[in-house]
Amino acid sequence: MEKPILEVRQLVKDFPGQRALDGISLSVPKGSFFSLLGPSGCGKTTTLRLVAGFEEPTSGDVLLNGEVVNHRKPYERRVSTVFQNYALFPHLTARANIEFGLRRQGITAFDARVEDVLKLVGLAAKEARKPAQLSGGERQRVALARSLVLAPDVLLLDEPLAALDPKLRKQMRVELKAIQRRAGITFLLVTHDQEEALSMSDQLAVMNEGRVEQVGTPEEVYFQPRTRFVAGFLGAVNWIGGVGVRPEATRIARIPENHGARSTPAMVTDSVFLGDCFQVLVRLDSGEEAVAQVHRSFATFMPGESVHICWSPADEILVP
């Protein structure tokens, strides 16, 4: 395997009265799309800020290209951040925002690079506008272009889609991934949205309370979560007698299924129409609650009805 472009080793960060990071280690391969996923306060943004150089670690190391950069200032690191609020310079046009970094680094003949990146993010027609005259999505593209144009070793994205409306957010996910592939730049994305992390990442690290719970591909962490926290954070889980089953892998039947499926008796408590499917809520004899996501043609179950919930052993999530 190729040498990682970004590595953090046993990183600890203390803030007054609080430990934000409790010894995390990560290794981000060159050219990959890597996400840090976790609830607010899990330390993902702190990790990003330590990589960017806005904070210095209490202990542990940040390595870029194999070099320890703990005490280097942000302007001495070949990384660039796309801020959650974009942090565009309001007094400069979109183009001047994009040129800002190039000028600071003393690069002169940059017109072609700027044109390329404007095309890449689809902003060519709006380059003369100031941030206040751009929509939220356009501002985000400027922020992205401003960092991309510097061809950083790692591009850091702090909840970049959080400020967009849901429809645009889904569209930008696809686009962001496409831009990352075309540009061939390593992306480190911070998000609390599991769908976002799952849909864009090559690898993701699930974080909780200043620690990394699991690192893996989206499939690995979704289907083989190592902890209850990971299983629960990446999607709904029914915990049935110690094993986990995802709602979409949970079936409902009036009589138990044969051919190797497992089943347990339950009673329907509610049924919720979601458009493309129904969510059937049941209570098991053990008192545990479970949810089954079923196709609408199966949704003939009424509250109070006695049923069996069934699942395949292959779909079971086993955690310690």
């Binding site: 960017a52 150089g53 806005f54 302007y75 942090a87 310079f89 800002f100 600071r104 680094q105």
Partner: protein, 275 residues
């Protein structure tokens, strides 16, 4: 509509009685003839304005302009770092702001007299330097342009600090991080991001300092010792010693016209910048 009328009435009365009426009086006086013992009498004339063309008065006007400009620039140089420091302070921010405003607790006149006691031949500075053996004869610290400039900068510094502080305080701190992130060293961040973004505060502060400095008469009178005649002293003098009210009024009108033009032009340019 009715409510609006009553709400605006007090400020209307105030403005008419204390601004419009005196303005009209001064305007009228400037077109009258001087009375023998002060005051004004008929006939109507533009003689006062004709006298303004005298190079002597133009020189005074130019000197005042330069003095006010120098005071404004110096205030900016001192105020900007102070405002930046206060806006970035994580602790004691209110204390620092209180310190900036502390001088307002005492009368401007008293504070200007305090400078007299510091700067005069037998003042604190000269006595200290002499007792330390650094100098043997008192330095001429008072009654020159430098003393006037010092007094003006001292007096109007808070008017520069506060508006700049207000704009810096509103500035999104992530912009400074973004600049560093994009490769800007602190100096580049200062001049490419922080200064341009605090421009509205700089303009407001400059107007607030420049205008009173241009018409200042107390500071040049006390610290300049009459040697440093500025346009404010000229006006004051016409109404007192010279007993030439029409000419004093004409100088006032000219000063007001110049300030109005200047501020109007500046603000128009600023609003174009923002738009």
């Amino acid at each position: 509509m009715k409510l609006r009328f009553w709400f605006l009435l007090p400020s209307r009365i105030w403005m008419v009685a204390l601004f419009a009426a005196p303005f009209a009086i001064v305007l009228a006086y400037s077109f009258l003839t001087r009375g023998t013992y002060g005051g004004v009498e008929k006939p109507w004339t533009i003689e006062a304005y004709q006298r303004l063309a005298d190079p002597l008065y133009l020189t005074i006007l130019l000197r005042s302009f330069l003095m006010a400009l120098a005071a404004t620039v110096l205030c900016l140089v001192f105020a900007f770092p102070a405002a930046l420091f206060i806006s970035r302070a994580t602790r004691h921010k209110n204390l620092y702001l209180q310190l900036v405003m502390l001088p307002f607790w005492t009368s401007f006149l008293v504070r200007t007299y305090a400078w007299l006691f510091l700067l005069r031949d037998t003042g604190l500075i000269n006595m200290t330097l002499q007792s330390l053996g650094i100098i043997h004869a008192p330095l001429q610290l008072l009654y020159n342009d430098g003393a006037v400039l010092l007094g003006l900068v001292y007096g109007y510094l808070p008017f520069m600090v506060l508006p700049i502080y207000a704009t810096l305080e509103r500035m999104d701190p992530s912009l400074i991080e973004a600049a560093a992130d994009l490769g800007a060293r602190p100096i580049a961040t200062l001049f490419r991001v922080i200064v341009p973004l605090s421009r509205p505060g700089i303009v407001a502060g400059s107007v607030l300092v420049f205008i009173p400095c241009l018409g200042a008469y107390l500071t040049p009178d006390l610290l300049g010792g009459g040697r440093t005649v500025l346009v404010g002293n000229l006006v004051q003098n016409q109404f007192t010693n010279a007993r030439d009210w029409p000419f004093g009024s004409a100088v006032s009108m000219l000063l007001m016209a110049l300030v109005t033009l200047l501020v109007w032009g500046l603000l128009r340019r600023e609003s174009e910048q923002l738009g």
